[in-house]
């Protein structure tokens, strides 16, 4: 699909594909696709931004800067445009311009962590960047009164204290650090109070005994009631900190947003608390994963015991206590499985084997002296396998021909899997001289002919590449109009798979690999 998309660069989706390539580190491919696509869609700004990013990632900073600056007038509100312009200027040590663009990023998206990080490295605290403006909207110009709200938390639930003052309010609204207020004549909304982010990671590395909670003191100017009736208002305060010790914060980096609706006239206080999952969770999880000790390590989990994995003992034995369970499993199995009865049976088997060996020796002697053949003894039946299933005695190595017809029978299972693919029509093994070794499609009558022809083509190609010093041919795909023949070398033989044209050759090769290994073992 990626290939199809890359071919069809008329479609604007090529930019998405290029972005995927960039994420995969395939910079050249991304640049190639983007150039191709932009040749057809020269006004596609997003693609140009991605191309600039690609150049930057490739180290061609000046090329990236040239491209990004060219489209800046039309893309100055783009977060990525400003971010990569900032990166480019930073790399070119033009820190003033870099700072300007990073600040622009934060104006567009105050949560952009890259820009914050870069500004920090440039010696600018991201909180100093004007991330928002205090907006106070009055619909009616009326005298205002002032209330003070202070958040004080116990067990994660802030309490709000509201003090109303009848004094004439100050003209400025003092909010720490950033607040946006919209008020009407009937209600006051404090939309957001954004406090500096607490760096949880650093706090975990150097845990502090107590967390100092910054209590925001908010002075809000609200219009007084026009009439004598008390005006009710709503205040929403968003507090991006959690009032628990940092070390116990379950989700590092998460911002705790507390929305509180405060009726102005001292009515009941409604508190809403939401814990959104911040992007930092992924980073922290990655850090935690990296710190996970290897398997087998016991973790001191309070209130629970870590139970080691114990092999289930064989029936008839008692479950050993925990201390013994840590013995190697082989020892346990040997102790538990060899009962007295089994021992007796083993001894009987050994005795029977010794008798059989003795009989063989005598038979060999009798063959050496045919005139002294004694009366034939009635053949004793072979001793039955004793507890073969229970004891799981390793089976002796038997040659493939002993139990099965031919050595190729071991290829049957992987070959059946291959032939079970819908797009596979037939398969056969052939020698390099064209002679058929094994046919797995007996219904087809032309396999011998194809075998000979494929071998001829293979030998032709083999000799040619040998001449070119490009190494021996390993695989060949021969495409015909109605079917495709995949030929894979397996030592001195060839595995040929005949498929439909729409078959996926990669999949065929994956299936064939197992068969090739088997063929190499059988044929060498």
């Amino acid at each position: 699909m990626a290939d199809e998309l890359s071919i069809d660069s008329k479609a604007l989706i090529f930019a998405t594909l290029a972005d995927v390539y960039l994420s995969s580190g395939m910079l050249d491919e991304a640049i190639s696709i983007l150039k191709d696509g932009l040749a057809r869609n020269p006004n596609y700004t997003l693609a140009k931004i991605i191309l600039g990013r690609a150049y930057y990632m490739k180290g061609e900073t000046e090329e990236a800067l040239k491209l990004l600056e060219a489209i800046y007038p039309e893309a100055q509100e783009s977060e990525n445009e400003n971010l990569f312009l900032g990166h480019c200027y930073k790399r070119l040590t033009d820190f003033d311009k870099a700072r300007k663009h990073y600040e622009a990023v934060l104006r567009i998206n105050p949560d952009n962590k890259d820009a914050k990080k870069e500004l920090t490295t440039l010696g600018i605290k991201p909180t100093e960047v004007p991330v928002g403006k205090i907006k106070v909207k009055h619909e009616t110009e009326v005298p205002v009164r002032e209330i003070e709200i202070s958040a004080r938390g116990t067990e994660g639930k802030p309490e709000l204290e509201i003090a109303e003052q009848r004094e004439p309010p100050p003209e400025e609204v003092e909010i720490r650090p950033t607040i946006e207020i919209k008020s009407t004549s009937e209600a006051v909304h404090i939309k957001e109070v954004i406090l500096p982010e607490v760096d949880i990671t650093r706090a975990q590395e150097t845990p502090e005994p107590e967390m100092v909670i910054q209590e925001p003191t908010v002075k809000i100017t609200i219009p007084p009631p026009v009439s004598e009736t008390i005006v009710k208002g709503e205040i929403e305060i968003v507090l991006p900190f959690k009032e628990e010790p940092v070390s116990e914060v379950p989700v590092s980096g998460a911002e705790v947003i507390q929305k509180t609706e405060v009726p102005v006239s001292g009515a009941e206080v409604i508190q809403k608390t939401e814990v959104p999952v911040a992007e930092k969770i992924k980073e922290i999880e990655a850090t935690q994963k990296a710190e996970i000790p290897p398997s087998g390590t016991e973790f001191p989990v309070s209130g629970a015991e870590v139970i080691p994995e114990i092999e289930v003992p064989i029936s008839g034995t008692e479950i050993p206590p925990r201390g013994e369970a840590e013995k190697p499993p082989e020892i346990l199995r040997a102790e538990s499985s060899v009962s007295d009865e089994v021992k007796r049976r083993i001894e009987a088997l050994a005795l029977a084997n010794a008798q059989a060996a003795q009989a063989e020796k005598e038979e060999a002697k009798s063959k050496a002296k045919p005139e002294e053949i004694p009366a034939a003894k009635p053949e004793e039946p072979a001793p039955p396998p004793l507890f073969a299933e229970e004891m799981k005695v390793p089976e002796p190595v038997v040659s493939p021909t002993a139990e099965t017809g031919t050595p190729f029978d071991r290829l049957n299972i992987p070959m059946e899997k291959l032939l079970s693919l819908k797009t596979v029509n037939a398969a056969f093994i052939s020698a390099r001289d064209g002679l058929l070794i094994k046919n797995y499609a007996e219904k087809r009558e032309d396999i011998e002919e194809i075998s000979a022809l494929v071998a001829a083509i293979f030998n032709e190609a083999f000799e040619s590449f040998k001449y070119l010093n490009e190494g021996p041919v390993e695989k060949i795909i021969i495409e015909k109009s109605r079917e495709t023949i995949c030929v894979i070398t397996a030592g001195e033989s060839l595995l040929c798979v005949i498929t439909q044209p729409e078959a996926k050759p990669g999949l065929i090769f994956v299936y064939a690999r197992k068969i090739i290994d088997e063929i190499r073992e059988v044929l060498g």
């Binding site: 083509i457 190609a461 001449y467 070119l468 490009e470 021996p472 795909i477 015909k480």
Partner: protein
């Protein structure tokens, strides 16, 4: 379709068109690879395929430990591409299918 459309694909070492008797019509190869040799080989192998399997149009893909060789039989000539083993073979194959 131009040869440059294929040769600009990363890790493509060269591409060309050759007649069935092995003479190069057009080619574009990176340094160190001789178009004439690969062209002659393409003509030979594709000729063998056409003769053996009695097909008018078909293709051959050959894998070696170093390179992968594509050859596509056309009525009048043979189009062939050679690339490194880790090139995007699917993309090359798609481009070759578009060659008329």
């Amino acid at each position: 379709m131009k040869l440059t459309d294929i040769t600009k694909i990363p890790k493509v070492l060269g591409a060309g068109t050759v007649t069935y008797d092995g003479f190069i019509i057009d080619s574009q190869f990176t340094a160190g690879y001789e178009a004439a040799k690969f062209g002659a080989m393409a003509a030979r192998i594709v000729g063998q395929v056409k003769k053996s399997l009695r097909v008018e149009e078909g293709g051959v893909i050959l894998y070696t430990p170093k390179v992968v060789f594509f050859a596509r039989a056309k009525p009048e000539n043979v189009f062939f591409v050679i690339c490194a083993k880790d090139a995007n073979l699917g993309l090359i194959k798609l481009k070759m299918d578009k060659v008329k």
